[in-house]
Each structure stands twice: as structure tokens, then as C-alpha cells.
Symmetry: C2
Subunit: 406 residues, 2 copies
């Protein structure tokens, strides 16, 4: 079974490393020998063991009838999309770690794979090495899933963990994460929540078997989370995590990405550093959680190679997945239920205004911040909460507000 790897970056070189390291057991599991025939990259890698099979010409790969499986680990939408489409049309299996590609074109590419009796597999696109795509497709099939909550981005979880444990501000920890290679030079995709947003869109699409557009998911990153917020959280027995969330409410679905205060007893609270975890609730299974390293060269490569093994075991047989292009009915952003933890500057009369505006709040004491009032609102529709914040801002300075889950 011959494979071609598109892209010899971190994940691509990891795939080569994993296949070489565990050759014997991988071939046993696949039931045949996995042979890397081509590696596509525009760069040169003089002296690298793959030098002899390196090419910059995709046509050579797509026209090689001996290539059964294409491994797309280049990232980005183009030319990845064009290459993947061509491969599936030729009946080759495709394995990818590319979440942008999957979030945007997943439904169509699965359909194309089905039409060509081949497979489009993307375990590595969410949660790095954590098996989550295959369990959703093949293990949780007895359930109606009604909620998914995940820590889906390792970089931001590392930053929040450091902020909490070392009492340091966001900017300082971000810099350290960049130095350690945990955050990119341009950290926007991670810290603004775009990466988590694509991942929760993919998980929701699979759970509900229909298209959830990532563009329609309200997304907020962690840049506004302050040292003070963290201190309040600790004092209250909470922690702050960047959560991708998706819930079914009646016929509608709502999804969001934002920092959320969760109690320490929450199953996601102990998930620290670069680890990811995904909590799924189903109407018969109750709750299940999947936990592991959500990023990194080898964990991601592990998921890619497991997909290669699946593809090898299913040559010519489409593995049925359910993710149609038909759109899920999404709840309007303004109707999504939300409750907030809020810090306000103390001033005469503000307490009464808060109680009148928010119709019942839970006050939070923190003697380290004597100049502040802090409270937790009831849960209500986002639009109504927004109005209340507008009203409050006419009378007081709102220091920060953050989603809270009870």
C-alpha cells in the first residue's frame, strides 16, 4: 500500500517518523505494508532520508496509479482543497489533519469519497492524537447527542494554566509560549479562538449529521482574561478555560467559543497545559470524556497514521459517515442563554442599580479587591444580557465580564 505525503512540515515529518518507528506493528494492524512513495514539498531537504522521494510536482503523485492514499498535511485551504478533491475523484483515499479544510468542505469531501468508493478521514483535525472523530462516527451512534464541550486548543490552555498557577498576566505568558514553540509568531488563530471555532464546528457537524458553519459561531478569545479574573476564579473555587461549546435545545443548535469560568468539580477543570479534552453528553450514555495531547508533532502524527491504517483496511470500501451539506438550524446568537461573572467599580448606588437591572444576582466577596463589586448574573438570553450591560455602563465602570457555568 503506497502513500504520498503532501507537506513535509511538523506533521508531515512526524508521520514519516511514526511510520518508521512503529513499522512492524503498523503493518500488522493495516494487514499490509505501508510504504511512503512520495513526499511533496516546494522546499529542499538536503541530507534528509526522504530526499530521494521528494517532489515539488503534484501531477506526478496524482497520476501515479500505485499511490493508494494521499496524506494532506500542508494546511490552509488552497491548494490543499484542489489536491484532495482530485485525489478522491481518482478513487484514492485521503487522510488529513487540516481543520480549515474539513470545517469548510468536510460534507462535500465525504460525499465525494462515498461516490468514489473511497475514504476521506480527518481524525487529526480535532484534538490532535485524541480519538474523537471515529468515536463520534462509529461509537456514539446509539445516542442522540445534546451537548459537546471541549478544551480544543492546546496553546490557549497552556497560557491560561500558566496565568492561573503563576499569577502572571496574559502578554507575559504568551511571550513565553512563543519562546517554547507552543504559540506561533502570529498567535491570532489560537488566542482569538478561531482554531477552537473550526474544531467545534467539525464536532457539531458530525454529532448532528448536518452542516454547522464555523462563520456562524460567536467566537471570543482569551486576550481579555486578566490576572484579576483568575484570582477571583481561584477564590470562588473556579478555573477559567477557553471552551468550544455546542448544545441542542429543541430543534435548534447553538454553539460558541469563549473563555468560561467553570467550577473545580467540572470534568474539564483538571485539564491543564497543552492537554485537550472533549466532553460529550448523550441521552442514553450520559457523559463521556476523551482526554489527551491536543497538539504536537507526534500525537498529531499518531492520529494521521491511525487514519492511514483505517484507509488501508478499507481499500475500495467507503466507511459510512453522516455529515450532510444541509445546514443545522442554528439559534440566533442573541437568543443563546448565558450567565456572567461581572466586576464593577464600587460607587454609591451601583449595588441597587445592579440588582434592579439584572433582576437578582449572586454577590461575590473578595477582600483583595476592596474597590470593586463582583457578582454572578442569572442565566438569560444573550440579547437581554447585552441590554443590561449597556444600562449598567451608563452608571458604573465595568472592569470585566466573563461567561460562567455552574
Amino acid at each position: 500500500m503506497n502513500i504520498a505525503i503532501l507537506g513535509y512540515g511538523v506533521v508531515g515529518s512526524g508521520v514519516v517518523e511514526v511510520i518508521n518507528t512503529n513499522k512492524e506493528s503498523i503493518n500488522m494492524r493495516a494487514g499490509r505494508e505501508i510504504n511512503i512513495k512520495h513526499v511533496l514539498d516546494l522546499r529542499k531537504f538536503p541530507g534528509d532520508p526522504i530526499e530521494d522521494i521528494l517532489t515539488d510536482d503534484f501531477d506526478k503523485i496524482i497520476n501515479d496509479d500505485d499511490v493508494d492514499i494521499i496524506v494532506e498535511v500542508m494546511g490552509g485551504l488552497e491548494p490543499a482543497y484542489t489536491f484532495v478533491k482530485q485525489a478522491l475523484e481518482k478513487g484514492k483515499s485521503v487522510v488529513t489533519s487540516n481543520k480549515e479544510l474539513v470545517a469548510k468542505y468536510g460534507a462535500g469531501l465525504l460525499q465525494l469519497a462515498k461516490e468514489n468508493s473511497t475514504n476521506f478521514l480527518f481524525e487529526a483535525s480535532v484534538g490532535g492524537g485524541i480519538p474523537i472523530i471515529r468515536p463520534l462516527n462509529e461509537s456514539l451512534t446509539a445516542d442522540e447527542i445534546y451537548e459537546i464541550t471541549g478544551i480544543l486548543n492546546g496553546t490557549t490552555n497552556f497560557i491560561l494554566t500558566k496565568m492561573e498557577e503563576e499569577g502572571r498576566p496574559f502578554e507575559e505568558v504568551l511571550k513565553e509560549a512563543q519562546e517554547l514553540g507552543y504559540a506561533e509568531a502570529d498567535p491570532e488563530a489560537d488566542v482569538e479562538g478561531h482554531d477552537a471555532c473550526r474544531k467545534i464546528a467539525i464536532l457539531s457537524s458530525l454529532a448532528f449529521a448536518r452542516q454547522v458553519n464555523f462563520e456562524e459561531i460567536p467566537t471570543e478569545g482569551i486576550t481579555k482574561v486578566s490576572k484579576g479574573d483568575m484570582e477571583y476564579a481561584s477564590k470562588m473555587g473556579y478555573t477559567i478555560k477557553l471552551l468550544g461549546r455546542c448544545k441542542r435545545k429543541g430543534k435548534e443548535i447553538f454553539a460558541s467559543v469563549s473563555p468560561v469560568m467553570i467550577p473545580l468539580e467540572h470534568p474539564l477543570a483538571p485539564v491543564k497545559d497543552v492537554f485537550n479534552a472533549i466532553l460529550i453528553k448523550g441521552n442514553v450514555i450520559g457523559e463521556v470524556m476523551f482526554y489527551g495531547k491536543g497538539a504536537g508533532k507526534l500525537p498529531t502524527a499518531s492520529a494521521v497514521v491511525a487514519d492511514i491504517v483505517e484507509a488501508a483496511k478499507h481499500k475500495g470500501i467507503n466507511i459510512i459517515s453522516h455529515w450532510s451539506k444541509e445546514k443545522v438550524e442554528m439559534m440566533e446568537a442573541g437568543k443563546i442563554p448565558a450567565s456572567y461573572f461581572v466586576r464593577v467599580q464600587k460607587k454609591d448606588g451601583v449595588k441597587e442599580i445592579i440588582e434592579d437591572t439584572f433582576l437578582g444576582v449572586k454577590w461575590v466577596e473578595n477582600e483583595d479587591y476592596p474597590e470593586e463589586l463582583a457578582f454572578i448574573t442569572q442565566e438569560d438570553e444573550e440579547d437581554l444580557q447585552k441590554d443590561r450591560f449597556e444600562k449598567l455602563k451608563d452608571h458604573a465602570y465595568v472592569i470585566s465580564s466573563i461567561n460562567i457555568e455552574g
Copy 2:
């Protein structure tokens, strides 16, 4: 697609309930309608909706060519084994939740399914609703797994959690668990570790693709865990869990079931009450953990029904599993590395004897137990540790000893 359910007990009636509750989505996932054609039980269920399809005659089922899938949820070795074998020989798929059956005959039944181009599926035999069998078979295939550690029994985890949180002794909490229906009238299989032993044998066999005999796994239950041990654990920042463990060391494997003190930072420490979790370490993925309800009617039925969906999707196509009858090379029990937490009655000269015997220990202070000496041993081979305990007992009264990790 017609199914027959063997056994209308807790799990069997759960399977009927799940199929009825989620009919629409289950049929969508299976790609065809799942119809319950027979239920086998020697008892009568007057007034029950399944009354019309109830039979006490297995021959009627095995000779019905319209039955595609047999769901064995009777438990016990016989007649379950005979029925399952006959079904596979007839080319019917078999789904089971029966861990005794799987631990003892799994390798042979998988082989038989392969020979007959059908499937033998047993997701529900370990970890109730938690997807763990399919991830091991199909998702963690890029890795060489070198360690599995699991909280595999809900009853004992419930008892240990209550003992810890409420400071109550084992016997008292066991009685409560029985009243709540979490423990059987005859609790031996749970509290003596036999249930966990079969489950770790199944997981290890799949991870190493060869037979691990449950009879060869040293197994100790939780009956000797005392209130005092729990208090020491809390004070030390540890908790006590009944762990099924399996590790690869070189070419050899060793496995065990016993109560173990683990630090609160351990990923399994927050797993409480009837929840189960399985932590797997692979040489490329690092560590992954699967968490959820390990028992109970609906979670277990969820796993059974997910297997029915898989069987329906793979009619006539064997899903490749790797678990040969060839035995894994097991390390002698006496060579297994172990460290202990030990409590000894204070007496003149005992401290010196302990230090001489155990060649370096870590002393543990606990002012609540002024009449005791407590210490942690270094890790060493079980046989050597046993000799040391024998020697110590000549000079002092050993109150308790318990495995400790990490």
C-alpha cells in the same frame, strides 16, 4: 435488519429501550431499519411490550434466517458460549456485553467471526458506555501501547469515593451500595477485583494483539482498605483507587489488579463515584484517557446498540481485529516491580529495622496516629518486597500495606 436479544435482564431491557427511544437516529446511522424480532428468556413478562416476541427456545432464533444479529446479554459462560458460537458459525453477527465470555473465549470467537465473514463485537464488555474497545482496535493503531491503567469497576469506585469523602468504613458503605442497587447481594465479583481483572485482561489482549489470561493476573480487591488508610492518603495528597494495570517491560508484560494510592494530580484521581476511566500510554500519542459511566442499564445498552449499528453497517464484511490465541509472555508475578505505603505499630528499635530491611524509605508523618510509624518503600521486585515484609513481621506489627504510585 432483524436482531434477536438473548436475555431480558437489566441490559437486555435497556437495549430495547434505547432502540425504541432513538429509533430515528439509530436507523439513520445504521443505514437501515433495526427491528427486534425475538427476545430469549426463560421467564415470562406478562404485559410487557416484548411479550409477543418472547421465546424460551434458542433453536427458533438460530434457525431463523431472517435474523442477522444476535445480541447476547445473558452473562455467564454457558449457555452463552454455545449460543454465540452457533450464531457465528451460521454467519450471524454477535454483539455481547459479557466480559467473562470475552475474556475467556474472545480470541477464538474473533477468529470464528473472521472465518464466517461476520463480526463479534464487545464494546459493552469493558467500561460500560465508554468507547474503548473500538478506539483500541481502530484508533490507537499507530502506537505501540506500553501501559494501560484503568478504574474499571463502578461499584468499588463508588465505595472508595464514599469512604474517602464521608470517612466511613468499608462494610458500612458496601451495605449502602447494596441498598442503592450499585452492588450485588453477593458483591464478591466486584469487591474482590474479579470483574476488573477480566476487563484488564480484555484490554491488554487487544493492546498487545495476543492472549492475556485473566487467571494469571495477580488480583486483590478493596476489602482490606481501611478508614485509616484513606485518612493517611488524604493527608499525603493522595487518593486510593482500585486499578487494573498492565505494562510492557521489554518483551514481557505484567498485569495486576489492586488498590493503589495515587497522587491527586494523577489523571485518574478525579474519577469518582460509579464513573470509570481508562488511561492508555503509547509511544507516539503520549497519554490518552477515556472517561464515562462504566456501568448501569442505559450506558451499557448504549454501547451494545452502537455495536448493533456497526454490525448492521458491516453485514458480510469482517471488521479486522487483532487478538490471537497465542499467549503474551507474562512476567512472573514475583518479578513485578512494586512500591508500598506501610503502617507499622511503634516500638523501640522498629525504625532502625525498617531502614535496614527496606534499604531506604520515605517516612510519612501523621500526628493523628501517634502510635504508628508510616513509610513509603522504594520500588523493587514483588518477591524481594515480600521477603522484607516477612522479616519486618518478625519484629513489628504491620497494620496495613498498600501499593503506591508516583
